[in-house]
Symmetry: C2
Subunit: 404 residues, 2 copies
């Protein structure tokens, strides 16, 4: 894409209200735009990142046998009354002016997915069932802060699984844990599996996936030598304790919760009368788990974990483009076209009214992995530089295009 | 995918309340599930169709230089007061219990996109700008009927363009018209470009894209010899008039509006003080257009236009799978695997507890383009049948796999 065709522009404006570095870089570079507190528009550059994140997640969810659906935003109020959660203070309410229908805007989808599965579940042969969606959620947060990391409206991948026995649930739960670590790793985040409160539905722990960051709103006790971590809300540990896993030293750190997994036991099966017939012909209740990843939040967490003082450093896996091509006093249309012909995703800075310095600053701020400069100073050659490395080298144009 | 892994099942249940054939087939085959009046879950088979539709649309929108974004569902109420549309009776309202914020759930996004473009627009060099999204919309319809064709919550591709002159807008408008016809054609719908009321913002006509269907809620005067059509709400024509284009005969027909395009003139530029500086340094207001396609509605319209008395007949371009592989008393795992290895999308009916008749009925209902039967009656061969054709033929397995 030519940068002149992009309707957004980089800005120098810094939002004083939001302190998170990710918010400032994402806003200044034109990835997201804050419409109001906790509500964002995802701009073209951000949309490309989000699509890549979604596809990484989809691939993993499909590979563990989960099936994609799209459940509605409007939830009948009765369902939440039935599950005993209608008093939660994050629920947005609305109603139809024509019918008597009253709705909540879904902050999570157990109240929809459990009756849905009930429509099709009859025998143990139908189990296990795993269903996921990538869908907009609504939570009326008291304070929506830290930019895109905590929004009132945000996108989440949420998955729900149903099993015959707690052991089978446990086995799937562990599989999801590994899948999640793979996803975060692929997105350039070193997430720590963190023991946390099980919530209201189980006596067991749940697990959160935490990315260390000064913009985080959670506090975890963690070992920096190994991956051990516990949420401070449930932990018996204190700072300077020795790690239960490796005897390293325990630190108290701020972190962003990028994912969580819960054992729901049969809480919602009970609420919505979810039954199946087992091999012996007996009526039984399935146990279930739920598993979430905040996809828009992940954009923020990736930037928190991948930046320097000049801007974002996108991992190639989620970068909006692979090459940032800069033309300096030199027509580069042909190189641009040849890269497109090779299916390389290129952002081409073809602006005539910007200095080399301005273009380099924009490239550092936007954070595409490879910067390629075409200049009249270096005929027949291009200057290449990785975003995560200071080294600059000159390469013959033909060689560059061949090897990319 | 193995049919035993699909958590949905076909049902014989017919919904008496909704008359549309598309609703009954889509529900019975397990493409969508009605949660309540006008609100649906898109099930795994439906999700696959919707993703294909979305990708057809994305490719076209990108090819006419539009940029994908995702704007929020929550709109600040003030914006709608500013545009004079806050009294529209399709608006759902909600509010935050913590702040004073009041919101509408977006039924369309002019109130968001125009100020957004205003943030980046300064010079005539920035124009034209075209922005689109594929996003969930909310409209509090008085009567939500005809299944997925008219929902209270539905998904739409909406696009907005901004230009210096009415002539440039006109030119883009015509380009979009051709793009839309291409999209509908690729989705297996013969849509008629229909003159309709321009609405409140322009004295000109707007255009609707109408698919003839008995489930439609619009009435159009149309020629069946050529593509000429006018919405009955604005037409001077009557039945049996002669067509203004080809002198054929004019009929009054029911139709589904699958898309519409509007000339907004400078209505919203005025509301939101949208300006740019022209070549002479003068402050000017851009003119704009908006362009919509209902993507979830399109699923319904495609089925209305592509079915017989046994079920759906998906066009290959939007089908959930390309091959429906049925195994009858014969292990077909190897054929299934070899098709997957060739990247063929296969729904594999591996059920042991169903009769041949039940499997054939399900295949007809679900409507995948090619049915392939493996049976012990025909060793070394498969029986193939297209969904839109009664002809059945026997082919050597190797030949079939080679040529697919």
């Amino acid at each position: 894409m030519k940068i002149t065709n992009l309707f957004t522009k980089t800005t120098k404006h810094i939002d004083e209200e939001v302190k998170a570095v990710s918010h400032n870089y994402l806003t200044r570079a034109g990835f997201v735009h804050q419409e109001m507190s906790g509500v964002y528009t995802i701009l073209p550059l951000g949309r490309r990142v989000l699509t890549r994140i979604e596809n990484i997640i989809r691939k993993e969810m499909d590979s563990i046998g989960s099936q994609e659906v799209t459940m509605p935003v409007l939830h009948p109020k009765e369902r939440w009354i039935k599950s005993g959660r209608s008093e939660m203070d994050v629920l947005f309410e609305t109603k139809s002016r024509w019918s008597k229908s009253e709705y909540f805007l879904g902050p999570t989808h157990e109240e929809i997915v459990v009756p849905l599965v009930g429509r099709f579940l009859s025998s143990y042969k139908d189990l296990p069932i795993s269903v996921y969606q990538i869908q907009t959620k609504f939570r009326d947060e008291k304070r929506a802060k830290s930019g895109i990391i905590r929004g009132r409206e945000f996108v989440m991948k949420d998955m729900y699984s149903f099993h015959e026995t707690p052991e089978e649930l446990e086995e799937y739960y562990e599989k999801v844990k590994l899948s999640y670590l793979k996803i975060f790793d692929e997105c350039g985040i070193k997430a720590k599996v963190t023991k946390a409160s099980g919530g209201d539905f189980t006596k067991k722990y749940s697990h959160e996936f935490m990315a260390l960051s000064s913009a985080g709103e959670d506090l975890i006790f963690t070992c920096l030598d190994c991956s051990y971590a516990e949420n401070s809300e449930v932990s018996q540990l204190k700072e300077n304790d020795s790690c239960p896993e490796c005897q390293g030293k325990i630190f108290l750190k701020k972190a962003i919760e990028v994912g969580n997994i819960f054992d729901l036991n049969n809480k919602f099966s009970q609420d919505f009368n979810l039954f199946y017939t087992n091999e012996k012909g007996e009526k039984k209740m399935p146990v279930s788990g739920c598993y979430g990843i905040g996809t828009t939040r992940l954009i923020g967490a990736i930037v928190e974990n991948n930046h320097d003082d000049k801007g974002i450093i996108w991992p190639a896996t989620v970068a909006p483009f692979q090459v940032h091509l800069i033309s300096l006093n030199q027509e580069s249309e042909e190189i641009y076209q040849r890269l497109l012909d090779k299916n390389v995703e290129v952002l081409y800075d073809n602006r005539l009214d910007k200095t080399a310095g301005e273009k380099f600053n924009d490239a550092d701020l936007i954070g595409i992995p490879l910067r390629v400069v075409v200049s009249s100073k270096n005929p027949g050659q291009v200057e290449i530089k990785k975003r995560n490395n200071e080294e600059v080298s000159l390469v013959e144009i033909e060689e560059f295009i061949e090897n990319i």
